[in-house]
């Protein structure tokens, strides 16, 4: 029933291959082949030819032998599940992917250094061995952690899968039999009825009012009629093919299976989807960039000190050990765990808000997103037809289309409305399915056509029980809708007390209804139809049609008692009653309305600088109406066609640059060159693609990505899945989404609420900012960890900080504060700024390194060295006398080393002092890290503006201090970790430096805020 539609039924499925001048996909030919036109030709053949082709019979069906033969030849009628990665491969990916590789290299280098030491020295120090083991342990533990985290998500995914085996009714050797849908073969004669899922691609041979819901394949919300006649050359458009895994909503049909399994249209899309290669997630790219920077710094430091130590006269082997030591010391051991935990925390938080993230890295992707390509049906709209407008008494009335009936109501007092409601209720074959009385009306299941269900629900909502109304007016005759009449008619007994016994009600295409009407009802009074009223009707009809709505006309007549007395035998074949000179009552128009939360969400995305594009398989008029309704085309923005219509000039004369919005038809899209496509995507801010095929959705996504955008795709249907897969982040719908789309997506909205995307964007942006802070915090302590070793080499002082204490910082005290930064609130409204530019705004940039390593880290190192010198001085070694002491200090045989006061020290005594120094240095780093975590809370604001509301962070401060004290004072630590109790005064050595860090950074941020865009911002804002 395509009433009120000016648009012809066009789906662009022609091949898109020519447009792609470079098939850059791997798996080349197969994938390109899948992108081509659907190879079904049976719709152009006659039924006999189809029968001949598959050696089947139109009545008897296949023989069992033939069916078995075909089954062996073609395989079972099921989609090949996408190749699942074996669990151990997934585990290895977690173990060796991204950041882990850095730690593995560090561990290997440690083992190498230990091997060299073991080969050359009699009693090698175990430090390198321990470090290597700890590094490996860290990687393995973190790997396990993220593996199980993702396994949990995929388990939830498993639960989505529909486990019930599908059944199909086939006719073989003349007998109807119920078989598993997997057993259906090409050539089988299949019978489907309303409610069935179509078991294969069928060439319809006979049908009775059969309608199928193609929404998951083409995006059309309305059920499509299926009949044996070919109506179009394009298999997707013709009416005599029903597609695998679409649903038959009503009627019955019989068809010959022409394709099964992966060869079906659905199967091809699914295969195309699983064959697509996806790029790295933005956060993975950022981490890669980060690793490059860290490696660069490490190698630079290592090599320069390698050369220095050679110059200073160390042996080659010693120099190599130093080189390795410096490189390894640069590896931030705790960062991998920190990043993983931060992402996991965000993933959990998002799951609470109904966004299930399948891949941990995808948590951040929404935050970087600059373009969202959204499907319409089921994503932006509710995917149910609803009465949106009515026209009666020469006025357009607006019905409530919201999901929860919170919208406004219209004036129901008019007598015309009573008549209109009566017609809509009586001339309607839809009924509520049984046993649903407790459910809200809108949630109830309806047996029947989508638009009739819409009418039914509308009347039930506004006028009470339709069932009671129908009981009072028993139906005596009916002419169902058919495409030649374009109307539906029924005759009912009138209620008691009416002078006439029969009421004729009719609904159908408005122009047909108008033709049959001689009167029109206004305020409950019939008056003759004049030219003025016709004009008003035309205007209303066009108005509603222009909103993309499906318009139905309603009329009725009380059959006069004298001609049609009680008991009159109505004959619907002969039509022995008048169907002209009726009384026109009104129009009702239906649309699949937008979800309530969508306009708000689109607005938020827009203010966050995200471009929202609608990509739908539905008709341009509907698409445009919905786009306007949800704000994808904002108020006041015109398309080229709108401008042409307003100025009354041909479309070709309008400068396309004047129009911000545009609606592009799938068939036009396929004629566009890549440059034209780029041009459209670049120059129009508000774009709607209508009538697009799954392949074209893919091309649109690729086009956006070519322009450097990070693209999110939302969708629920099979037709969206290639685009979902190709997108940087695919977002599928948890309730209404098809399995294929959920499999292809990276994220699932469990409540189907588009608004959850906004949450996702917000969380993604927040975690990106907070990861920066976390990394800045973690990296800073690298400098006070490396410099002791450098000075040990350069000026031959006793080693100020050992490997074990470094590990205690990186994997102990620093962990909780670093993770707590993930709980930090946003500094400003992150939804008001533009999405980050993936080329310019990096997770870790030179400025971050400069702040962490060059500025704060240096002050921290000073604090540590100060504590070191204080401890040694209090024990009798003045700083001046320490330089050059190293060889004697570390000499086991030297047991009478004199300090600055002439006291003699044995080797073991010296070592106790040295390890006390390590402990003091360690405690000093903890103290300066207090200040560091507080300054890392903000990147621009002062701490006083941000506040200290982050409880986890305060907990972190307490915990790291407690841990430091525990490590220093716990009995047995001197044996286990060689850490010694510190005098209370030694704790305070680093306090001034801690204070200095805080003041220094507050001043930096103050200047940064005062001079936006100034030198300080350019050089230090990370």
């Amino acid at each position: 029933m395509g009433y009120g539609r000016s648009d012809s039924y066009r789906v662009a499925t022609t091949q898109d291959k020519d447009k792609k001048e470079s098939p850059k996909k791997k798996g080349g030919k197969d994938l390109d082949d899948l992108k081509k036109e659907v190879p079904i030709t049976e719709h152009k053949m006659s039924v006999e030819e189809v029968c001949r082709k598959y050696a089947t019979d139109i009545v008897q069906g296949l023989t069992n032998a033939k069916a078995a033969e075909y089954l062996i030849r073609d395989g079972p009628n099921a989609l090949t599940p996408p190749p699942t990665t074996p669990e151990w491969v997934k585990f290895c990916r977690q173990l060796f992917g991204g950041f882990s590789i850095l730690l593995w290299i560090g561990a290997l280098l440690c083992f190498l250094a230990y091997a060299i030491q073991a080969a050359t020295e009699d009693e090698p120090a175990g430090d390198n061995l321990y470090l290597g083991i700890v590094l490996s342990a860290v990687v393995i533990i973190t790997g396990c952690f993220s593996y199980f985290q993702e396994a949990k998500s995929s388990k939830i995914m498993e639960s989505f899968k529909n486990m019930v085996p599908q059944q199909a009714l086939v006719i073989r050797e003349g007998e109807k039999m119920q078989i598993n849908a997997e057993q259906v073969v090409a050539g089988d004669l299949v019978e489907v009825k309303g409610g069935d899922r179509i078991p294969a691609d069928l060439r319809i041979v006979s049908s009775h009012g059969c309608k199928v819901d193609n929404s998951s394949l083409t995006g059309e919300s309305e059920p499509q009629t299926r009949s044996p006649d070919g109506t179009h050359d394009n298999p997707l458009e013709t009416r005599n093919i029903a597609f695998f895994s679409t649903n038959c909503v009503e009627g019955t049909a019989r068809g010959i299976a022409v394709c099964t399994g992966d060869r079906t249209v659905m199967g091809r899309i699914a295969t195309l989807t699983s064959g697509l290669e996806t790029g790295k997630t933005p956060i993975a790219k950022e981490i890669e960039h980060f690793i490059q920077i860290i490696t660069g710094v490490a190698v630079f430091l290592g090599v320069s000190f390698f050369i220095l130590s050679i110059v200073l006269g160390y042996s080659w082997l010693e120099a190599v050990i130093f080189l390795i030591g410096i490189i390894v010391a640069n590896v931030p051991e705790g960062l991998l765990a920190t990043v993983t935990v931060c992402l996991t925390l965000t993933a959990k938080r998002m799951a609470r808000k109904n966004c299930l993230v399948k891949n941990l890295e995808a948590v951040e992707t929404l935050g970087s997103t600059s373009t969202i390509c959204s499907d319409k049906t089921g994503t932006l709209t509710q995917n149910r037809m609803t009465v949106a407008h009515m026209w009666f008494d020469n006025t357009i009335h607006e019905a409530d289309t919201t999901e929860d009936q919170s919208g406004s109501s219209f004036d129901k007092s008019s007598a015309t409305w009573v008549s209109l409601a009566r017609i809509a209720a009586l001339c309607n074959r839809a009924v509520f399915k049984a046993a649903q009385d407790t459910l809200p009306i809108l949630k109830r299941d309806v047996a029947g056509d989508a638009s009739e269900s819409a009418l039914l629900k509308c009347i039930e909502l506004s006028c009470g029980s339709v069932k009671a109304m129908r009981e009072k007016n028993k139906k005596v005759a009916e002419i169902p809708f058919n495409s030649t009449n374009k109307y539906q008619l029924s005759i009912h007994e009138t209620e008691e007390g009416n002078e006439n016994s029969y009421l004729l009600v009719m609904k159908g295409a408005p122009e047909r209804i108008l033709d049959r009407s001689s009167h029109i009802m206004v305020q409950g009074k019939e008056q003759p139809m004049d030219e003025e009223m016709k004009e008003a009707f035309q205007n209303a009809y066009q108005e509603l049609g222009g909103l993309g709505e499906r318009v139905l006309g309603f009329c009725h007549v009380f059959l006069p008692e004298d001609k049609y007395p009680k008991g009159f035998a109505f004959d619907t074949d002969e039509v022995n009653f008048e169907t002209d000179n009726l009384c026109f009552v009104g129009l009702m128009s239906m649309i699949d309305p937008p979800r309530a939360a969508v306009p708000d969400a689109v607005g938020k995305c827009r203010s966050a600088g995200i471009k929202v594009i609608m990509v739908t398989g539905d008709h341009p008029i509907t698409a445009k109406a919905i786009a306007k309704g949800v704000g994808i085309i904002s108020e006041g923005n015109e398309t080229v066609e709108d401008i042409a219509a307003r100025l009354n000039i041909p479309v070709s004369q309008v400068n396309p640059r004047d129009a911000k919005a545009c609606v592009i038809h799938g068939t036009d899209l396929k004629d566009l060159s890549q440059d034209q496509m780029d041009d459209i995507l670049r120059n129009h801010t508000e774009i709607v693609f209508a009538r697009t095929s799954p392949q074209q959705k893919l091309i649109i996504v690729e086009g956006c990505q070519r322009l450097g955008a990070i693209v999110a795709v939302t969708g629920d249907g099979v037709n969206d899945s290639p685009a979902l897969k190709k997108a940087d982040i695919g977002v599928a719908m948890g309730i209404s989404g098809s399995d294929v789309s959920k499999q292809a997506a990276d994220m699932i909205l469990l409540d189907d609420n588009f608004a959850s995307i906004v949450t996702g964007v917000e969380e993604g942006r927040l975690i990106f900012d907070n990861l920066k802070k976390s990394i800045a915090y973690t990296l800073t302590s690298n400098i006070p960890e490396i410099t002791p070793f450098l000075f040990f080499i350069l000026v031959n002082i006793p080693l100020p900080l050992g490997t074990i204490t470094i590990l205690c910082i990186d994997l102990g005290t620093d962990m909780v504060p670093a993770i707590s930064l993930a709980y930090e609130a946003a500094e400003s409204d992150i939804m008001k700024r533009q999405p980050r530019n993936p080329l310019r705004d990096k997770l870790v940039n030179e400025r971050l390194i400069s702040i962490a390593y060059g500025q704060i880290g240096m002050i921290q190192a000073l604090g540590g060295f100060f504590a070191y010198f204080v401890v040694l001085a209090e024990n009798g070694f003045r700083p001046y006398d320490l330089v050059g002491i190293r060889l004697n200090w570390d000499d086991r045989s030297n047991n009478d080393l004199e300090d600055s006061y002439g006291q003699q020290w044995t080797y073991e005594q010296r070592k106790i002092v040295e390890f006390t120094c390590h402990t003091a240095f360690f405690v000093s780093i903890v103290v300066v890290q207090w200040a560091d975590v507080i300054i890392c809370k903000t990147r621009r604001n002062s701490v006083f503006q941000q506040g200290m509301r982050n409880k986890i962070l305060i907990f972190g401060l307490f915990e790291e201090t407690a841990l430091a004290a525990l490590l220093s004072y716990c009995p047995g630590m001197d044996v286990a970790l060689r850490m010694y109790p510190l005098k209370p005064s030694w704790w305070f050595c680093a306090f001034p430096y801690s204070f200095l860090i805080f003041v220094y950074d507050e001043i930096r941020k103050l200047i940064l805020r005062r001079n936006p865009g100034g030198w300080v911002e350019r050089e230090t804002y990370y």
Binding site: K951, I954, F958, L966, Y969, P984
Partner: protein, 93 residues
Amino acid sequence: MDLVTLVVFGSWLAPALGSAFGREVFASAENADKDYDSAFEYDYESLRIGGLVFAVVLFVLGIVLIVTKKCSCSSDKPRPKTPDEETAVPIAQ
């Protein structure tokens, strides 16, 4: 669980604290004698215990901080939801 840990810590702390105070007194008494020839001594025992008490107190404080009103951490602030009453299609009259 929190209570149990507290009790355990408490029962362990009592003797430790007592002994710490006792030795402190003893150490200061020794210092008063000012025997310059005796070997250098430092009371590591009480330092240890003092440090541990400090660590435990901080730790418990931290835990208490987290446990009290855990959900009100700043990043979890509730978002005010404004229902959008506006219907989708602009009315034409």
